[in-house]
Amino acid sequence: MARMTMIEAIRDAHAVAMERDPDVVVMGEDVGYFGGVFRCTAGLQKTFGVERCFDTPISELGIVGTAVGMAAYGLKPCVEIQFADYMYPAYDQIVSEAARLRYRSAGEFTCPMVVRMPTGGGIFGAQTHSQSPEALFTHVAGLKTVVPSNPQDAKGLLLAAIADPDPVIFLEPKRLYNGPFDGHFDRPSKSWSKHELGEVNPGYYEVPLGKAKVLREGAAVTLITYGTMVHVALAAVEESGVDVEVIDLRTLLPLDLETLVASVNKTGRCIILHEATMTSGYGAEITSLIQAECFYALEAPLLRVAGWDTPYPHAQEWDYFPGPARVKRAIATVMEA
């Protein structure tokens, strides 16, 4: 085991995948010589050469569009979009092309590629460096969507994503890049200073796509979440004194519904927590599935805690970010029902 930040774990996953499979190619803005603005690809160009890890023009459409062509040819492109907020120019290539190639050609052409992008807030990035666009991907048939919450999962999930025969959207919560987060965004100095590293397995291993993880067992409430909010959830639960079961989804699509249903059938109460805007967000999907599957076990209405339905503001980040206080309120509310 090695102790790593999420950035180091992602870098390690790239190196292991490229070492193992000569078809894995890495490209994106600044990813080559410099190793990416977050340094997730640092050193790859030096090790694997300029034809396997290279800088691209600032054209998200170009990055994803050429990756579709490369994947269809037989390579395994793993591309970086500098911030998820900048994937919109590439959205047509992701949605209309990458996601549908297998379907529309009846399997004649496929698109095994990974599109990595940093998501979420917590670094004062304002509206253009803070978005959580996962619902825009889970809404699209043909894509898989992954969000890790710790270095060990990040590496294993990325290796599984690269090995996957279909296009995978890999969303990296940038608030967790340098270490876990104690969930208290309104106490910036404390949360930033806590740079503990995670234990990460060496070499090749996969964390399978589509498998959630029960992080904390509990009998009273099921709290379903992913990414940065996993840490907010754990902080809130600790402070709430309620026996909450916390589940980290890890993959949003395909969804591990079985684990969720088993948990809610046991607890009878359920809260979904995400950082993205509430309305039409991914939480709505889970809410709908759980109420259909667990209706007779439910003892309280399902609750969602999410980002407000506004763009992500710069000065009021701590008011926007769903923090432990809001999660604790939600726990209290479902316990009263």
Partner: protein, 410 residues
């Protein structure tokens, strides 16, 4: 047919990396005054050469020479010097403020001051810039209050955009400064639309689009050229080639051939390439393009050749990807020094007055900073209310946002 060969991926590389000695001998710099100045009404097909040279006015001795000289009065040049000095002092103070944790982020203009400061002077009220993040000189040269700019950087209660935007993402309709997007290139094509609207309404206004060399790779840039060449509205398409896009050298966006200005040729647009460190050349080129727009002769594309002397932003360390001393080796010099030398040569300025002016400008900037900080900084003092977070999402706040606002306690 010659023998076939397996293709190899060609990835452009800059000539120099950290540890190498800076060397710009391959950059062809024509003599000041050497480039001709056609009539703005001339057929674009006949001025293709202007996209491959560099229009320069100030020569090595600081004299203004050639057909592009003389677009500014003495008074205007003195004012221009002051604007550039103000922008530099402003940058220095805001950089320090960021390092002190008073704001989250800052982006400076070091070495590029002439472009925005000088361009603005060719415009008039009613014209609209669609800037990116390195054109604060447009505001300074149009007399926008420094205190307001700083309040924006601090996201405090005095911030005109209510703490919503990243620092340096200013907005002022009054001063012809369209609200900045963090998404590169999106506004290049919007500027064309703004000019199309002026044309549809038959109003004497023009727009100026701004983009960096790296961002010209975005499809929005190409969309803008298509629409500009199709409808020929009064728009000036500005490309600031400062050699670097974060760690990526300009050759990645440009490819192996041509210049950024030459991108205009496929669209039949007249394209100029200008010394971006020469206040006088920038103004002359801008004025030429403005004249085309005002005479309804259509769009002009201008590439400013300059160098980003500082880091990309406060999150960047350029020493990781380019030679440390490269900025000093940049052959087009420092825009402030060059204009200063010119003004001294004309007897309008002196070393002593410059030193004195530097102190004055810095005092003025510090006074503005004190005023802004008295209101607040990102983490202290008066901030926009969380209530503000819910305003302006729509013209009228829908019920679900009212509910969410109440949940926050407002």
């Amino acid at each position: 047919m010659s023998e076939e060969r397996a293709p190899r991926l060609h990835v452009p590389e800059p000539e120099l990396r950290p540890g190498d000695d800076p060397d710009f001998s391959h950059v062809e710099i024509p003599r000041a005054g050497a480039v001709r100045r056609p009539d703005p009404g001339e057929n674009p097909e006949e001025m293709r050469d202007l996209a491959f040279s560099i229009i320069r006015v100030l020569n090595r001795n600081g004299e203004a020479v050639g057909p592009w000289a003389g677009s500014l009065s003495d008074q205007e040049m003195l004012e221009g010097l002051r604007h550039m000095m103000t922008l530099r002092a402003y940058d220095a103070r805001m950089m320090t403020a960021q390092r002190q944790g008073k704001t989250s982020f800052y982006m400076q203009h070091l070495g590029e001051e002439a472009i925005s400061c000088s361009f603005q002077k060719a415009l008039r009220k009613g014209d609209m810039n669609f800037p990116t993040y390195r054109q604060a000189g447009l505001l300074i040269a149009s007399g926008y209050p420094l205190v307001k700019m700083m309040c924006q950087v601090y996201s405090n209660e005095g911030d005109p955009v209510r703490g919503r935007q990243l620092p340096v993402f200013y907005s002022s309709r009054e001063h012809g400064f369209f609200s900045i997007s963090g998404n590169l290139a999106t506004q290049f094509v919007q500027a064309v639309g703004w000019a199309m609207a002026a044309a549809i309404k038959g109003e004497h206004k023009l727009s100026a689009a701004w983009i960096g060399d790296g961002s010209t790779a975005e499809s929005d840039f190409h969309g803008a050229l298509v629409f500009a060449s199709t409808y020929k509205p009064p728009v000036i398409l500005n490309i600031v080639n400062n050699q670097w896009a974060i760690s990526t050298f300009q050759g990645i966006a440009r490819g192996g051939a041509g210049t950024f200005a030459a991108r205009g040729h496929g669209f039949g647009l007249p394209a100029l390439r200008v010394d971006g460190n020469d206040y006088l050349a920038v103004h002359a080129a801008a004025q030429w393009a403005v004249e085309r727009a005002r005479r309804d002769l259509g769009p002009t594309l201008i590439e400013y050749v300059t160098y980003r002397a500082a880091g990309h932003s406060t999150s960047d360390d350029p020493a990781a990807y380019r030679p440390k001393e490269e900025g000093n080796a940049w052959p087009l010099g420092d825009p402030i020094l060059r204009l200063k030398t010119h003004l001294i040569g004309k007897g309008l300025w002196s070393e002593e007055r410059h030193v004195q002016a530097e102190a004055e400008v810095m005092d003025m900037v510090i006074a503005a900073q004190k005023e802004a900080e008295a209101i607040g900084t990102l983490h202290s003092g008066k901030r926009p209310s969380p209530r503000d977070m819910f305003e302006d999402v729509y013209a009228e706040m829908p019920p679900h946002l009212v509910r969410q606002r109440h949940e926050v306690g407002y």
